[in-house]
């Protein structure tokens, strides 16, 4: 046990799989011990877990600097809200629609990337996309109610469960988060996921291997858009009112921070990032006015001393925590 040897580790991959399953099961205890405030934070973490997992596909796995994430998030939230408010669509169905519309937004973002708009061009055009969407929410008064925001109906149900307090929301969010995280993890470990990472490593080589790179770039964006779109639909129910202010530039910076703090290209890292940057600001409440300062300092420190994110601390415990989507 005490010997330092690369092969003998405290945790094997097999044990780790059980550990991953255990986390959500263990989480089921939370509503019985937490008050509404803590539960709200937990629910926010579940929403941001999907936000970060979705964003990480683009930033980490595909390696593209695209900042359209808030746009996906907002589009998901507004889609769900608009369908529920105006169409009387059940929440469950509206989540599905948010995934579809989010995916379409992802497709739109991928078109720019395919057109050779990459790196900073992509970053800037996607930032602009996000801000233009916010302008649309703000000026689409008739539908979005402008800056008053769109109030979510009181009586919403997920498969018959009334979502009228944090507890049922927690169970529904946990279910959605587990399903989508697992699906994303499976996707990233499949041939598709490997192709996506291969494109990050070397797009030209990947293309020369006969892999249709454009198809996988589109796929990565669409999947990212869908996952974040669902997160948006969850966010709408979490905050009960969808407001343009919630989808500004600061929001995308927080998303970006979550990805980097947790660990780029890692699903476990995404979860860690979402947990860290959702809970820390709550902790900082004790130091009024120092929020931004702390946020900035933490990310700087992580970038300097843990360039692979907090998840790399786990790698020191056991290499089994490393998610290998790619072998050359």
């Amino acid at each position: 046990m005490e010997k330092k040897n690369g092969n003998t580790s405290l945790i094997t991959s097999n044990q780790l799989r059980w550990f991953y399953y255990l986390v959500p099961v263990a989480a089921l205890i939370i509503p019985f011990v937490a008050n509404e405030y803590l539960l709200w934070i937990v629910n926010a973490i579940l929403v941001y877990t999907l936000v970060t997992v979705g964003f990480n596909i683009i930033i980490g796995n595909l390696g593209q600097l695209a900042f359209a994430n808030t746009a996906f998030f907002g589009i998901g939230a507004y889609t769900s809200a608009i369908l529920m408010v105006y169409g009387g669509v059940p929440y469950t169905l509206s989540i599905l629609m948010s995934a579809i519309v989010g995916g379409l937004a992802g497709f739109l973002a991928s078109v720019t990337a395919l057109r050779g708009i990459r790196l900073y061009y992509l970053a800037i055009i996607t930032l602009a996309f996000g801000e233009l969407m916010r302008w649309v929410y703000l000026h689409g008064d008739d539908v979005t109610k402008g800056s008053d925001g769109l109030r979510i109906p009181d009586d919403i149900f997920f498969l018959g469960i009334p979502l009228d307090s944090e507890v049922p929301k927690f169970f529904v969010f946990l279910l959605l988060a587990v399903l989508l995280v697992k699906a994303t993890s499976n996707l990233m470990r499949s041939r598709i996921g490997r192709a996506i990472v291969a494109i990050r490593e070397n797009e030209a080589t990947t293309a020369s291997l006969g892999i249709h790179t454009a198809r996988y770039i589109v796929l990565a964006f669409v999947w990212s858009g869908s996952v974040v779109g669902v997160a948006g639909a969850m966010f709408a129910v979490l905050t009960e009112r969808v407001l343009p202010e919630a989808f500004g530039l600061t929001e995308v910076i927080i998303h970006f921070g979550m990805v980097l703090v947790g660990g780029t290209g890692s699903i476990v890292g995404s979860v860690i990032g979402a947990i860290t940057l959702t809970t820390l600001p709550e902790y900082f409440r004790q130091f009024p006015g120092m929020d931004e300062l702390f946020f900035g300092i933490i990310i700087v420190l992580v970038l300097l001393f843990l360039p692979k994110g907090i998840v790399s601390l786990l790698w020191r415990i056991s290499p089994a925590f490393k998610e290998r989507y790619y072998r050359d």
Partner: protein, 397 residues
Amino acid sequence: MKSFLIKCMFGAMALGVLLIGNTVKAEDWETTGLTDKAIKVGVMGPFTGNASSYSKTQIGLMAYFKHINDQGGIHGRKFEMFPEDTACAPAKGIAAAKKLVHQDKVFYLHGNSCSAVAMAVKPTVSPTGIPWIIAHAVNPKITMPVNEKKSIYHGVPAGPAYGSTMGEFVMSKPGAKRIAMITHTNDWAKAYCDPAIKVIKATGGEIVLEQALERGQTDATAQVLKLKGAKPDFILGCLYEAETVIFLRDAKKYGLRIPVMGTAGTDLENTLERLGDKDAVKDYYVLHAFVDKVDGPKMKKWNDIILKYNPDETITGFSAVSMASGVAAVKALQNVGPDLTRSKFIAELDKIKGLSTGILACDITWSATDRHGCKKSAVAGFVDGNPTVLSSWGKPW
């Protein structure tokens, strides 16, 4: 494995649903946040973020509470304040509200700048029935129609009160008919401008031109030239401080010498200080919530309280705004007597009628059906080169 997981989850879900029921006992609810020595008050405000200059008003409110504490408190209880940052961001505001309600378990909530945050927080606070006094945000929908648990109060003029004052003042200028507007496109600006337009249209005016000037713009040439071309009698300006300054500067620059009516988001002295040009503000009229100039003799008492507890604070038009509803809350708490409960507090708040706070230019009147406590505001403008508080065109307060 997965199906097992899902079963687990649904099982737990069902359990959770069962547990939600009435876990909060009624008598606990009445006295939550109270001890023999303390009344816990949650004070939400934008202590960070791009609207942090509004948090001056929460600083003022808390200074007043500290002042009451130093006077011996209320029936032996002292205010214990829980300032919470909303950063003027909806999600952060909701977290703040949840924390105050469910973790800190305050007796009541008092504060809130940023209407968007108050609107976002409302679904969280409203169902709990915890008394909540809005001391700064202006969106009328926060308090009216009265919420189900009848627990939310507006302690400053809400949009319609401010807005109609703007409209009435504009129309009180002899011959005013053609009105133009320059506004931000957010709820804050709408809360002022919409009711003003209503009053203007109802009293025979018309809106001849509408211009947008967004936050962060540093030039208003295009807007000023448009306005100049429209030749209005009066301009309604629903702009924040910085943009007001930019607009007035450019208005002077291009010779647009038409009176401008501004919101309570700005004040005369500050605008003048920032412009550094008396000539540019000479046609600027602005909502003025107070009975006197910001640094006038009637305000000295209140400003001194703020400065006593915050010696470095710069007093602006925001500083004392929330103190008026603080006065009202203190009065209600005093009237309840030593056996304080939330229901009794709400009942006493509803009994406040025509309370002259000595701060705001309106009397606070609340009832079970009308929670807009403040129905009017004064206006400040230059008369013969001197800043003056006015009630209508040419008529001092």
